[in-house]
Symmetry: C2
Subunit: 269 residues, 2 copies
Amino acid sequence: MEKVKRTERIAAITRVLTERPNKIINLSLFCDMFSAAKSSVSEDISMVGESLLKYGLGTVETVSGAAGGVRFRPFAEQEKNRAFVEKLCEMFSDEDRRLPGGYLYFSDLLSEPELVRGMGNLIAGKYYDTKLDFVLTMETKGIPVALMAAEALRVPLIIARHATKVYEGSAVNISYVTGSGKIETMSLSRRAVKEGQSCLIVDDFMRGGGTAGGMISLMKEFNINVEGVCFVLALKDSKPVLPDRTCSLMVLDEMKNGEPIHVEPAGWL
Amino acid sequence: MEKVKRTERIAAITRVLTERPNKIINLSLFCDMFSAAKSSVSEDISMVGESLLKYGLGTVETVSGAAGGVRFRPFAEQEKNRAFVEKLCEMFSDEDRRLPGGYLYFSDLLSEPELVRGMGNLIAGKYYDTKLDFVLTMETKGIPVALMAAEALRVPLIIARHATKVYEGSAVNISYVTGSGKIETMSLSRRAVKEGQSCLIVDDFMRGGGTAGGMISLMKEFNINVEGVCFVLALKDSKPVLPDRTCSLMVLDEMKNGEPIHVEPAGWL
């Protein structure tokens, strides 16, 4: 009987922990769930942690203190991450993606849940040790990746908009200059964030850094600290919007006619 | 030794299955992962399935045939679903959400990954037995819930836009009339979808059904079959955009001054 019970507990514990990444779960939740002693549950959790680590499926950490417990983080080895990004680079480099004007079509890749989850987990992995209150993105293309990063970090996803919407309540608007020299507006509901918070900016692509610069200005208006800025793809040699705090998963060479599209993993990967 | 090994396998199998909802995973993946016999893996999977079912954490199903294997679906009992939606109704009914003009502020609730995941799983649960090629939403507010539904269903999320973007390639544009009588444009990249596909439309709110009607017209332009339309919230007595194929998680009474906000679970919950 004991044998069956343990496997049952292990399966349920694995699901509960991995379903809520980065959430500290008190052991008493499992004790109640299984009417089991803390020592048994604690042993189960160690087994889960060892197994996930062994197969590169994430880490389970114990957090001590009054609000302590265990938490799961979707973390893979450097090697696995690199292989994933190399696969992405191959997909992004496909010649069929070339659009007139030196643009690259990759909305289809940002619409695949499994791919954006992988990207989001990778981005989140860089910021687990940073105190963050939310992830910020600008509508529209970066939302899926930003949401996955926010879920892995267990913080809300705040979305800046191009224009004030009546159902967002009163908003703060700023103007910013895009990479192509156009002046655009960015709007954020006053209710969305609070002064003194810290955030991570996530977006799909950085060319001139105009939109990211706009988001940073917007955060200044709210007195919010920007801990980092992370893109899925950045144009090679583009100036980091916040030196030392800007990164991307991949780097794209300027697209020229007659030359193949070249996308490679960013240096930190 | 055998005892330790089984718990190890159970934890890893649970993670691999639940991480990729609705994907059919061939048993040989696990056999290779653990250098184990198919019979042992098969037994492990039964144990995982029994445990997840017992604790209301989802279902594991065996799919027979050449491309067969096992798949996980995040499915909860009716009772649990109802409790979740009742909790949501309470959150949505908060008087602080009232905006001028009879509008309701709920962007903050759509920015909480755990909540949108719950909503997305619930919506997906209605469509597991329907052949779907993608989930469609219109930017911006519905994207998080639509993405979570798409992930649970294991299909891409396609996002219609207000305007053509240069990085989306050639696009089909349609005009539609919003609930407030304005004429707006909806745009979808030609590359995003293929003739003859089937889709599920997911959006955050239905008032007059204008936007949803626009999405249905857009799908007609591409010769795509709309299998269903599902909203997080719908105004009470609003006309279903596709009779028998329209649903919502919650229903909102017309907001009147001096009367409390009233949101209740939809009838099917």
